[in-house]
């Protein structure tokens, strides 16, 4: 078997435990694996950002901006953003190398129980616009959602383009909501996306869901940017 990222051959060690259990799919070699860092240590209880404060300055800003009532109840992210992660995401999303998504499968599944879970939740992946989906042939958020053990519903669609990476947080949230509700959901929702950067995209989605009767909206993202 070869490392998905560097193509080096991966040696699968046989110990007497994995004689009986099939080994976990080891998709990265040790060297590449070591370059991805899961978030740990002190982090913001609301958005997973590494900080010494219990709630970070970003989240304080959001709470104030939304008059004390942030539409996003909580975000949990798995990985930190570093150069290697950025390269992997670029290749996965923008070059369209679908396989790379599997690199994150095990960790994304394993970390899932850590976020607040209640009964009867629904996972909703952040959608791409139809044009972008046609271009890329897959939605990275949908791929991530499929790794999770609970029901995933494409409750949202996207009517405006994705290109807003240069905008500030304020500009992003003040622009028109890019999403359209396809199906109202009256159970708690966990939004899934690849990256939490300013949090504006997720809050647009959360606001729309809540306007139509959704009681709680969390987000579970691969990376805290």
């Amino acid at each position: 078997m070869n490392c998905i990222w560097c193509h080096d051959v991966i040696m699968v060690e046989t110990s007497w435990i994995n004689v009986f259990l099939p080994p976990k799919p080891n998709r990265l070699c040790q060297a590449c694996e070591a370059e991805l860092h899961t978030l740990h240590g002190q982090r913001c209880s609301h958005c997973s950002r590494i900080t010494v404060d219990s709630v970070c300055s970003d989240c304080t800003w959001w709470k104030q901006f939304m008059n004390g009532n942030d539409v996003l109840d909580k975000n949990y992210s798995v990985f930190a953003y570093n150069d290697r992660m950025q390269e992997m995401i670029t290749k996965w999303k923008y070059r369209g190398d679908y396989q790379i998504g599997y690199v994150f499968q095990t960790t994304f599944q394993d970390c899932f129980p850590k976020i607040i879970q209640t009964k009867q939740q629904i996972v909703v992946p952040i959608p791409l616009s139809p044009e972008r989906l046609y271009e890329r042939s897959f939605n990275q958020a949908e791929m991530l959602a499929q790794f999770l053990p609970i029901k995933s519903v494409n409750a949202l669609s996207r009517i405006h383009g994705e290109k807003q990476s240069k905008k500030t947080r304020q500009e992003r949230i003040s622009s028109i909501n890019p999403f359209k509700l396809e199906e109202p959901i009256n159970k708690p929702v966990i939004l899934v996306d690849d990256i939490y950067t300013t949090g504006a995209t997720l809050r647009h989605a959360a606001a729309l869901l809540k306007e139509h009767g959704c009681p709680m909206v969390y987000s579970y993202t691969l990376i805290r940017g």
Partner: protein
Amino acid sequence: MTTPSTNQQHPLTQQDLALRYTGKLLLRSEIDLDDDNFQRSNFSPIPSIIRRNFLFICQRCGNQKRSLFAKIPCQSCHQTHLYCRNCIEMGRVMECTPLYFWSGESPNWPQHQRPCSWTGTLTEVQQHASYKIVQAVLTAQPELLVWAVCGAGKTEMLFAGITKALQLGKRICIATPRADVVRELLPRMKQAFSDITIQGLYGGAENKDGTAQLLIATTHQLLRFQEAFDVLIIDEIDAFPFHNDPSLLFASKRARKKLHTTIYLTATPRQEHRVQIDRNKLPHVFVPTRYHGHPLPIPTLSMCFSLRKDLKKKNPPARFVRWISKRGNPARQMLIFVPTIGLAEEMTPIIANLLLSFGIVTQQSEVTSVHSEDPNREAKIKSFRKKHLRVLLTTTILERGVTFPSVDVAVLDAGHTVFDEAALVQIAGRAGRSSDDPTGEVIFFHDGKTDAIVHAIRSIKQMNSRGGF
């Protein structure tokens, strides 16, 4: 010749399109036409990935390795199918989307009466090689290997052959392994052929349409061509990545026309080519002397017993320190080759301090490191050339292609596996490049001679003796 712009007011004629797309093999997304114009034009599709006897084959890059194909549940065609991971950096090749080639009329490339504006002269050995190249072009001889020592002046040797090809209305591509070399070659070629449109094609190039009669491209760019070139010149045939990547060989074969001349350039041919030469299977011409008539500098060996231990502790080896303090010509700049990126970065401040203490440099900033992952590589090479930088610590990235007129060359840990025979010959070939300073010190610091070191020195001596020294 003008290049049609993409935001055209007038519809493009089939002739415009022929010029732009002839000889290309492209994904639909690489063809900058709206669907109407596309459908009205003479593009023919071919399957992009074929399955044959349990094999998958990518038709753009020739990849057949199963581990470099993957499946995607495609939401464009709503089926799960293959895509190629090998050539994905150049746009994704998917089973559901074909590759297109231009099947309309092929343009007639102009015949240029006197395309060459270069007025220099060639040495006798250069003239001999140049003549062989012209003959190869003239008779559409399929292959010719030009074995020219580092500093032989191979670019100038190509001028007559390129001139002949342009006079005959042929299309020419010079393919070279690295973008650095394309950037260095392009202005020289534009100067030598001042009335000819010449384009440089590489990853970061501004103009990527590749429509000129004469192209200088990185070897990877050949993946976008099919039956395009009458004359294909492949520079540094022995170098990474051409030597290691079968898809580049595949692409170079596809990029040339059925009737073609392929010219290989190398200073350090690999075993397979030497065998072919010895068996008279590959026509070749040997250029044993440098253009300035001086022999290749022969590396000095310096044994350092605790070399790797020293380097681990970031101590410059004692013999290296002594060499630095007593160079014959302290005015020369220095290239110091090290085996790894980490070592290049770690040793830079230490060596800078050393040089400061000897008064060889006056500021820390005259010493820096450069390697393949360095985003400022281009700028640093430029400033070394302008002599703002005095000393460069480098990985094998500067072993070839880029030349400086007056340098001394040291290799720290020459016995490391990254320094194979070809690399060491190339590194030694960095010294003594200009006729104003045709010698230069080359010194290999090692902790035990490797086969590569022994063979490299033997091969340099052989080349010198074939050159009459």
